[in-house]
Amino acid sequence: MNFQENFNNHLKQYIFSNDNYLLKERQKIFNKINLNKFDKKNNESLKNISISDLSSFNYFYQPSKEKPTLEISEKNVYQINLVNGKCPDYKDENIEIRNILIKDIELFKSNNQKDTNDIVADLNLVFLNSGILIDVNQKSKIKICLNYKAEKDFTIFQHNFFNFFKNSEVIIEENFYLTENTINNIYYNINIEENSKIKHNIFQDFASSNKLLLTSNTTCAKKSSFSQNSYNFSKGFVRNFHNAKLNGVFSKASLKGCFLLKDDNVCSNKTHITHNAENCESDQKYKGILNNISKANYYSNTFVSKNAQKTEGYQLSKGILLSDKCSFFSKPELRIFADDVKCSHGSTIGPVDENSLYYLRSRGINKKQAMKMIISSFIKDDLIDLDKKNIDRINKNLTQYLSTI
């Protein structure tokens, strides 16, 4: 089904379809895409994926028989099982969880996701059909597991709002249980208040017929910290576009990720950190291994505004190419307007290191085994702060990937 049919046929099904303001916004974006009135050449959201891939699909969304659930398995561990973007409503002294309601419309009006030249974020607003809101109260120390389930053929356009109030410490773990032929376009607004510490781990391992497009916008207040790790072992298309704004002094943000690609899989990554306050630190690091005819790209950007003195910002991208038909594109960018800063970036792309290979082989390890060891260490380098269950899961995926080399 083409873009126009999708838009016209299901207009009534989208959230806030009665609101005039949003209708106008949706119409505006629709015209922009439909009439090709956007920058195609320098559009980072269209790298490795064509506009027709994004806009032509069979829109399908309806109420499901299966109900979303919430379990509190251990103390302060909240297992939230979402079904097609819907969550159960829940509230206790630590947390409030609910689906977005008509009263939340102001959040969308104030949310400035326009003018970003990001077609995926645009499509999210046009076809928006679900969204959840999580508020974590002050001083709460909890773990939230968000298990996303998407039923066959569903197209989910979801916008989530996470608010972490002062002095909270939260680990969010996201898992995707996607069945078959689903599209999951998920947009997050994450707001972190003073002194809060947030860890955000995203595990992506699903079958090839699914698409997952994640976009996050995080703002960090004074002395807060945000650490995000995405692990992409999927066979289907994944996009990880994550932005963070350091608005309070002494705040920290780290956006990291790794991906293993094979066959004709494609993966698109971007991280962007804006320093708006003094004495902040940022770290952006993505690593990937590519095989067969897979393709990946990674855009990273550190923006330091005029008053963000004493900034420290680091970027690193590493790619290992295992076959002569895969390709990797990286663009590590620095935009700096303050003088008292320490910013750097590094980027490498190449085959498995010959010297390491030689070292292992000279110790009697065969080439295949040596390759596997080097690749494992390349990925495992960053597996800190993960519990045993998740490490086992990554190991399993890694072993599976390595068995095809």
């Binding site: 320098n42 005029k306 008053n307 003195q309 790619g319 190419l321 295992l322 076959s323 002569d324 038909k325 895969c326 390709s327 990797f328 594109f329 990286s330 663009k331 590590p332 960018e333 620095l334 935009r335 700096i336 307007f337 303050a338 003088d339 008292d340 800063v341 320490k342 910013c343 750097s344 970036h345 590094g346 980027s347 490498t348 792309i349 190449g350 085959p351």
Partner: protein, 483 residues
């Protein structure tokens, strides 16, 4: 920022551009504006053959259809292409002088003022100079000596007549006129420039040099340089440029094409010191230059070295297409921006052949309210087995009103190729400063020493004749600016 720094920053902004004088000389100009008539006029003035004129007209037609390039991180005011003179030549040049003695003494005086004493240099320095004044080549020294070796070093308009086969074959072969609008514009209206041909297995015994000078007001300078190094040859080429101090902006859009055949090596060095505008950002040259080299044969090498201190707005990406197996591309750059200057400069290394290697060293220094961007592209195509690139780009910021940006594009399609890129942005290291000051150096001397150390990797790549000038230029740029 401490008060000392602010004071010296102010001092620096008062530093005057010493090449800002105007030479009073009668000149012949084309009519203002760009149309087919202008191109025919230029072609007629130069007595060009018919094929050259039709090539120019084709390029003009392409230019008409092309939009302005938008990739750079620059704020470029609208340029009215119909408000520019496309040809200006000193009147006494209607007939080209055969000898330096026939050149207008005023011109010779101008070049002396600029530190390019054609006569003196001819004897002392052993540098062959081709001086371009506005739109025409004024004089080429040492021609006879070079001819003995079979080296052709002349103005491009002369080469069109004397070596049409080479010009026809290579002109526009590295920078196709349709590449972007300024390459098309230059191809349509280029007025002069240098042409160099080094025959097989000849090592050019001296540095070849061109000095560009814009003198006339409201005149654009569009020079074209074509250097061909035949099999096994070597040449080192230097380029320098200045312009008078004016309130209006002037356009300089040059195209430089280098072709290195098997085992040949070309070293191209530039010290760019066009008028940068005053401390309010008024006036100055728009310097939009396309430079590209083709390592066509096996084992060939092209090395670009540039020191960019002038121009109000610069965009310039000296690039290498590494086509021949084992070929090497190098890029060394120092870019200093001050006041309201904007620079978007870098390089493009395209690895096509096997075992091709490239190295990029870029140093950017931003002062005042300037914006300095490094933009680089390194790409390995499918067949570039075992290709290798190393990139290092460092930026130094002085003051919190300027900006330093790094925008590298890295694309690898070959799994045996290795690319390594690193970049850093920082201010002058306090510890180094402290160390120097403790040993009795003044703040200014210490900063100058550190900055010179910061640029050394690039400056040492310059040939002797330019290294001295470049080091002085860096020192002048920093004089009183930082401490």
């Amino acid at each position: 920022m401490n008060s000392e720094t602010i004071k010296t920053l102010d001092n620096f902004s008062k530093d005057k551009y010493k090449y800002g004088f105007v030479t009073e000389i009668d000149s012949i100009r084309s009519k203002k504006g760009l149309n087919e008539e202008t191109i025919k006029f230029i072609s007629k003035q130069k007595n060009e053959p018919e094929w050259m004129l039709s090539w120019r007209l084709d390029c003009y037609k392409k230019w008409l259809k092309m939009p302005q390039p938008e990739w750079a991180n620059l704020k470029i005011p609208d340029i009215d292409f119909q408000d520019i003179y496309y040809y200006s030549a000193p009147k006494s040049f209607k007939k080209k002088p055969k000898d330096l003695n026939e050149v207008d003494p005023k011109l010779i005086e101008t070049y002396n003022k600029l530190g390019i004493p054609l006569e003196e240099q001819k004897v002392l320095a052993g540098v062959a100079v081709d001086a371009v004044f506005d739109s025409v080549s004024v004089a080429t020294t040492y021609k006879g000596e070079l001819e003995k070796l079979g080296i052709v070093f002349c103005s491009i308009s002369e080469a069109v007549k004397t070596h049409p086969e080479l010009v026809k074959k290579y002109l526009g072969s590295v920078i196709p006129p349709g590449d972007h609008s300024y390459s098309a514009l230059n191809s349509a209206v280029f007025t002069d420039g240098s042409f160099v041909y080094i025959p097989e297995n000849v090592k050019c015994p001296m540095e070849l040099s061109t000095y560009f000078r814009i003198n006339a007001e409201e005149t654009g300078q569009f020079e074209r340089t074509l250097i061909i190094a035949d099999k096994g040859s070597y040449v080192s080429y230097l380029e320098g440029c200045t312009a008078p101090q004016r309130d209006s902006n002037q356009l300089h859009a040059a195209n430089v094409e280098l072709i290195a055949l098997e085992n040949a090596e070309i070293k191209y060095s530039t010290v760019q010191n066009w008028y940068p505008g005053d401390d309010e950002g008024k006036g100055g040259i728009y310097n939009f230059v396309t430079k590209r080299g083709l390592c066509k044969g096996k084992n060939s090498k092209i090395s670009w070295t540039q020191v960019e201190t002038g121009s109000a707005i610069t965009w310039k990406y000296p690039s290498c297409i590494l086509k021949g197996d084992n070929s090497i591309g190098e890029f060394y750059s120092v870019a200093i921006t001050n006041n309201f200057q904007q620079a978007d400069t870098g390089t493009k290394m395209t690895h096509i052949g096997k075992n091709t290697r490239s190295k990029i060293i870029s140093k950017g220094i931003s002062l005042g309210k300037s914006q300095n961007t490094y933009r680089g592209n390194v790409s390995f195509l499918r067949k570039a087995d075992k290709a290798r690139n190393y990139t290092q780009c460092d930026s130094l910021l002085v003051g919190n009103q300027c900006g330093a940006h790094t925008v590298p594009y890295i694309d690898s399609k070959n799994n045996s190729a290795i690319v390594e890129h690193e970049a850093s942005t920082s201010k002058i290291n306090e510890d180094q400063l402290y160390y120097c000051r403790q040993r009795g150096l003044s703040h200014e001397e210490a900063v100058s020493l550190i900055v010179n150390g910061f640029c050394k990797q690039v400056l040492q790549e310059l040939p002797m004749e330019f290294a001295v000038e470049a080091q002085k230029l860096v020192a002048i740029s920093l004089e009183g600016s930082v401490g």
